[in-house]
Symmetry: C2
Subunit: 650 residues, 2 copies
C-alpha cells in the first residue's frame, strides 16, 4: 500500500455494504415485475379508500364513469356508430377467413367490446376480430378437423382455442409477465404483419376469382399453384365485381388520406360496398351466375357456448397451442395499437392491465359463441379519428351490432362474398408498411433483416415459421451482442481530464506507457473467454506497436469498467486471469470506475485483495494521473517504487 499512498488520490471507490440476500431478491423481483410501481397510489391511504382504489385499479370504468359527461357521450355515439358500420362487414369477412359461420363474426363484435369497456385502460381501442388471428385459426385448426366436413366439431375447437387464448392472456397479465410481449420487436412486428397481410390477400384470391376449391396451405407457392391450377374455373363475373369494389375502397382511402376531415368516407366505405353489392346481386340475380353470397344468417343474440368447449377432444393439444399463439399475436397487436394511440393523445396504458382485459374478454367471448378478438389497427384508427373520448364507443358499437343481430341479419342474405374479399384486401394493403421497412434499412441493417426474415418466413413458410424466425433472429442479436462486446481503446481529449474512444474522437491521444481499455457490455459467461482473448490481443498488439515505433514500453493497463453493469462468476474468473496474464508480462492492472455490483463481487471473491484496492480508481483520469505519477517516480528512482516487490506482499 506504500506505493500509492505517496500519490494523493482524491477519491476512492468504496465496497458497497452487503445487503441481506432476501432484501436484494425482493428489490430485484419488484424491479422485474412491478417496474411501474402500481401500488404507489395505495401508500398512506385508509383501508376503505384502498379498497375503492383497488377496485378502480382492476375495473377502470369505475374510475372514469363518475366523470363521464353528455359531451363525451355525443362524441362516443358518433364514433361508436362509425366503427359499427365497419364492424359488421369486417366481422363477416374475417369469420369467412377463419372458416367459421359468418354469424360468429357478428357475435364477436357484441360481447367482447362490452367486457373491454369495463376492464380496458385505452380510450381509443376498438375491439374486434383480427385478420391474422382468423387466418391462423383456419390454418392451424383446419389441419386437425375439416371445417367443411365436420363444421360443428371445428367450431367447438375454435371456441376452445379462444378460451385458452383468453386464459393465457389473463394469466400473463396477472403474473405480470407483460414484458414477454416486448420480445416481439418493432421490426419483427412490421415484417410479420406485412407477411400476414400478404398471405391474407393471397387467400382472398379464392373469393375474388369465385373458386370453389382452395388449398389449406397459406404459403405463396401453394396458393399460386392452387390458383393457376384451377385456371379454367375462374369466374370473370366475380373477378370484375371484386376489382370494382376494391378500386372503390382504395379510392375512398386515398381521398380520406389526403384530407383528414374525410376520414368518414373511408370508414363508411365498407358498409356502403356491402349495401351496394347486396343490392346489385339482389337486382341482377348474380348469385345464379357464379357470384357466391353469404346466404341465410340466423337472427338473434349470441347463444351460450360453454357446453361447446371441447375439453375432452383428442385435438385439445392443438387447440391449446393455437390459443397460445393467437393469444400472443392478439396481445402484441392490441397492446402496440393501444400504446400508439395513448402516446398520441398523451395518456398512459398499463400493459399488464390490458392483458387482463384482453384475457377476460376472450374468456367471456368463448362462452358466448365469439371467437378471438383483439384491437385491430384499422378499426381503432377510425374510432380515434371519429373522435371517441372513452371506451363507451365500444358499448355503442356493441349496441349497434346487437340491433343488427336482432333485426337486420336477413338483409345480408345477398351480400356477395367477393365484396368481403375486397374489404379484406383493402384493409390488408394498409398493413404493408413498406415505409417502415425502408426506415429500418436506413437506421439499422440488422433490424431490417429481422423484418425481412419474418416477412419471408410468413409468406414462404407459415405464420408460425415467420414468427419463430423473427424471434430467434432477435434473440440471436442480443446474444451476439452479449457474446461479442466491444473493447475500446481510450485516449485523452487534449487539454482535459476526459478519456474517450480513440475511434470515435480522432483528436484523442494515447497516454505513453499506459493502455486504457473500456469493456462495453456486462461481463458474462457468454463473453468472458472472448474478452480474455481480446484483452490479451490488445496488450500484445500495443506492445508490438510500441516496440516497432521505438516508443516508451507499456507499464500499466487500465480497464475502464464504466459500462460493465453486471458481472457473474465467469466474469470474475476472467478478470482474475487477465490480472495473472498482465502480471506475467510485468505490467500492472488498474481498474477504473467499477459499478457497485462489480465491486461487490470483486470483494466477495477476494479478487479485490489480489488486485489491491489502491489500484481501483473512481475515474480513468485519476487512474492515469496516479500511473503517470508512479511512472515518473519509478523512472527517476526505480528502487523506491518497486511495485513488483510490493505485489508479493498483497
Amino acid at each position: 500500500m506504500g506505493t500509492t499512498a505517496e500519490y494523493e488520490c482524491p477519491h476512492r471507490v468504496p465496497v458497497p455494504p452487503s445487503k441481506p440476500f432476501l432484501k436484494c431478491l425482493q428489490t430485484s423481483l419488484k424491479e422485474t415485475f412491478f417496474p411501474d410501481d402500481p401500488f404507489r397510489q395505495f401508500k398512506n391511504q385508509p383501508a376503505s379508500r384502498k379498497f375503492l382504489l383497488g377496485l378502480q385499479y382492476f375495473v377502470p370504468i369505475l374510475e372514469w364513469a363518475p366523470r363521464y359527461t353528455f359531451d363525451f357521450f355525443k362524441a362516443d355515439l358518433i364514433a361508436g356508430i362509425t366503427i359499427a358500420s365497419l364492424a359488421v362487414p369486417q366481422g363477416i369477412s374475417y369469420a369467412n377467413l377463419a372458416s367459421i359461420p359468418p354469424i360468429i363474426g357478428l357475435y364477436s363484435s357484441f360481447v367482447p367490446p362490452l367486457v373491454y369497456a369495463m376492464l380496458g385502460s385505452s380510450k381509443d381501442l376498438a375491439v374486434g376480430t383480427v385478420a391474422v388471428a382468423s387466418l391462423l385459426i383456419s390454418s392451424m385448426l383446419g389441419k386437425e378437423v375439416s371445417p367443411t366436413e365436420n363444421p360443428k366439431q371445428y367450431v367447438q375447437l375454435v371456441f376452445t382455442a379462444t378460451l385458452f387464448a383468453g386464459l393465457f392472456q389473463a394469466s400473463l397479465g396477472i403474473l405480470r409477465l407483460g414484458f414477454i410481449v416486448d420480445f416481439l420487436s418493432h421490426a419483427t412486428i412490421v415484417g410479420f404483419m406485412g407477411g400476414a397481410a400478404t398471405i391474407v390477400c393471397l387467400q382472398q384470391l379464392k373469393g375474388m376469382l369465385g373458386l370453389l376449391h382452395f388449398t389449406h396451405e397459406t404459403d405463396l407457392v401453394s396458393v399460386m399453384r392452387s390458383v393457376f391450377g384451377q385456371f379454367h374455373q375462374w369466374r370473370w363475373e366475380s373477378a370484375v365485381l371484386g376489382c370494382c369494389f376494391l378500386f372503390f375502397l382504395l379510392l375512398t382511402r386515398y381521398f380520406s388520406k389526403r384530407k383528414a376531415a374525410f376520414f368518414w368516407i373511408n370508414a363508411m366505405a365498407p358498409l356502403t360496398s356491402v349495401i351496394l353489392g347486396s343490392l346489385l346481386v339482389y337486382v341482377t340475380h348474380a348469385e345464379k351466375h357464379g357470384v357466391q353470397v353469404i346466404g341465410h344468417l340466423k337472427k338473434g343474440l349470441n347463444p351460450p357456448s360453454v357446453s361447446d368447449l371441447a375439453f375432452g377432444s383428442p385435438h385439445l393439444a392443438a387447440a391449446i397451442k393455437t390459443g397460445i399463439i393467437i393469444g400472443v399475436i392478439g396481445l402484441a397487436e392490441g397492446i402496440a395499437v393501444g400504446r400508439t394511440f395513448a402516446m398520441f393523445k398523451n395518456y398512459h396504458i398499463d400493459g399488464n392491465k390490458e392483458m387482463i382485459a384482453f384475457g377476460m374478454m376472450n374468456i367471456a367471448g368463448s362462452c358466448t359463441s365469439c371467437y378471438l378478438t383483439a384491437g385491430p389497427f384499422s378499426r381503432t384508427a377510425v374510432n380515434s379519428n371519429a373522435g371517441s373520448k372513452t371506451a363507451v364507443s365500444n358499448i355503442v358499437m356493441a349496441t349497434a351490432v346487437m340491433l343488427t343481430l336482432l333485426f337486420l341479419t336477413p338483409l345480408f342474405h345477398y351480400t356477395p362474398l367477393v365484396v368481403l374479399s375486397a374489404i379484406i384486401i383493402a384493409a390488408m394493403l394498409g398493413l404493408l408498411d413498406y415505409e417502415a421497412a425502408i426506415h429500418l434499412w436506413k437506421v439499422d441493417k440488422f433490424d431490417f433483416f429481422i423484418c425481412l426474415g419474418a416477412y419471408l418466413g410468413v409468406v414462404l413458410g407459415s405464420v408460425e415459421i415467420g414468427l419463430i424466425i423473427a424471434i430467434m433472429v432477435s434473440l440471436l442479436r442480443i446474444l451476439l451482442f452479449v457474446a461479442r462486446p466491444r473493447t475500446i481503446v481510450l485516449g485523452n481529449i487534449p487539454n482535459s481530464g476526459i478519456y474517450r474512444s480513440m475511434d470515435q474522437y480522432p483528436i484523442a491521444n494515447k497516454v505513453p506507457g499506459i493502455l486504457i481499455l473500456q469493456i462495453d457490455a456486462p461481463v458474462y459467461f457468454a463473453n468472458a473467454s472472448y474478452l480474455r482473448e481480446r484483452i490479451s490481443r490488445w496488450i500484445y498488439e500495443e506492445e508490438d506497436r510500441l516496440k516497432s515505433a521505438g516508443e516508451t514500453s507499456l507499464h500499466y493497463v487500465i480497464l475502464d469498467l464504466s459500462a460493465v453493469g453486471s458481472i457473474d462468476t465467469s466474469g470474475i474468473s476472467m478478470l482474475e486471469e487477465v490480472k495473472k496474464n498482465v502480471d506475467r508480462k510485468g505490467l500492472k492492472l488498474v481498474l477504473a470506475n467499477p459499478k457497485s455490483e462489480v465491486m461487490k463481487k470483486l470483494d466477495k471473491s477476494k479478487l479485490i485483495d489480489t488486485i489491491g484496492q489502491e489500484w481501483i480508481y473512481l475515474t480513468v483520469g485519476e487512474a492515469v494521473a496516479a500511473c503517470n505519477f508512479m511512472l515518473h517516480t519509478w523512472k527517476s528512482n526505480p528502487v523506491a517504487v518497486d511495485y513488483h516487490a510490493q505485489d508479493n506482499n498483497v
Copy 2:
C-alpha cells in the same frame, strides 16, 4: 441554436462518418469469428513461408517436433507410461458403463491419442474415454436398441454416433463457432459434472452389489427403486470386495493430495487394484461365488469399422442426436481442461483448433472401432503431474495400450467387474466439486441456482434435462439482464466535476433543477418499453419529491448514455418518446456521452435534429455546467432564453 451558443461548451460530440455497409459487415464478422486474429503471423511473409505456417497452423506437431529434445522424451515417457496404467482399467470400466464390449474401451485409447498428438495444441491433455459421455451413450442409444439383445446393432449405432460427434466438433471448429461452447457457463459445468458424477456412481451400484438386472433409467428415483427392489439378490461377496478396493483407492488419493510427490501412488492405484483383484479372483475362484469378471478379451489391434457405420439404420436420427450431445459435452470438458492447464503452465490454447483436433480424432476413431474420446480431467491431471512436456506422452500411452492389446489381454480374464466399479466411483467422487458450488453461492446467487438446477436436473431427470435446464436458466439470466436494465440516478461528487451513482456513492449530491439518469445497458427492443416507463417514473417521482420538499422545480433531464454500447430501432423510438414526454412536461432533454453507434443511429433517424445537436454533451459534467448556466440566465432574464420557443424552430 442561439441559446447554447451563449454558453461556451468546451467539447462537442461528433457524428461519426458513415462507413459503407459491406465494410461494417466485414469488420463485425471478423470480430465475431476471428477475434484472436489467427492470420496475424501470415502478414508480410513470402508465399512459401505462408504455406509452411499454414501447415503448422493446422498440424501443430510440425511446429514443435523440430524443437523436440531427448530430455523432453524422458519426461514424456514417464508421463505416458503413468497414464497408460490409468488408461487400461479406465477404458474397460467406461466401456462397461457405455454397455459396449470392454475391448472397445482399450481400442479407444490407441488410435485417438495418436491423432490428437498430431493436431492438438495442448501440451498436457491426455486423450481418453470419458464417464459422462459413456453413460449418455448407453442411456440414449440403449432406448433405441438393446445392448444385451442386439449387441451388434448397438455397437454400430455407437460408432455412428461417434462419427457424428466428430463431424460436429470438427465443423464447429472449421466454421469458427467455438464460442458456442462458451454458452456453457462455469456454473453450468460445475452443476452438470456433479450431477453426472452422482448418477455415474449410482449406476455402479449394479456392479458393487453384483446385481444381474438393472434399470435403463439414470435418475435417482428409478435407480433406488431398482436397487432396493432387488434387495434379496444383493451379493455380499461382491459388495465387500468393492468396498475394500474403493477404500484403497480413496486412501491413495488422500495421501497423494497431502504430498504432491506421491501423485504416482494415486496414478498407479487403479492398475494395482485391477492386478490385485484379478489375482484374488484367480486364486479364490470367486467368479463361481457371485463375483462377475470381464471374461474373454480378443487379442489384436483395432479392426476397421467403416463398414459398421449404420447410415441406413432406422435409428440414424437418434445416433445423430446422441452424437451432437456427446460431442458438445466432450468439447466442453476437453476445452475447459485444456485451458485450465494451459493457464497453469502459461501457454495459449486455440479453441477452434482444439475443436478440429477433437473432431478429427473422433472421426478417425469411429472408423477404427473406437467410441467417443475427449480429454478427461483425471487423466490430464495425472499426465501433467507426471511431468509431460508435449503431446508425445499421448503417443507413449497409445504404444503401451497397443502392446497391451497385442499381448496382455488374456491377463484381464479374471478382473472382477466390482473393481472397475470401484475405480469409476473413486474417479467420480473427485468430480463432485462442492467447494466450487459454495464459492458460487458466496459470489453470485444466480450462478449458484443455475448450478443447482443443472445438478438436480441431471440427478432427478436425465443428463439432457439437466443440460437444457442449465442452458435455459443461463440464457434467461442474460435476457432478464437485457430486459430489465438498471437506470441509475447520478449525483455530483463534492468538489469535482464527477457524477456517479447516488446509491453507490452516498456522498454524491443532487444538482438542483436537474435530474441525471444513467442507462446501464444496451437499449434493445427487449428493454425499450421498460426503459420508457422507468424513465418517466423517475421523472414524476423526482417532481413529486421536489414538490413535497418545496425545492426548485425540475428543468432539465440529462440522460447519461455512457453505458449504452448499442441501440436498435426500438431503442431509437424509445428515445423519441422520452423526448416527447419530457417536452410535454415543459422540461428539456439533454444527452451526455453517446457512443459512436448511438450517435450514428440518432443521426440516421433524424432524431438528432429533434433533440438538437447542441443538447448533446461529451460528459455529464459539461452538460450540467451548460444547464446550470442557462438555468441562471433564464432565472434572471426569462425572456432572453426561452427554450420552448426555440424548440419550435427545430
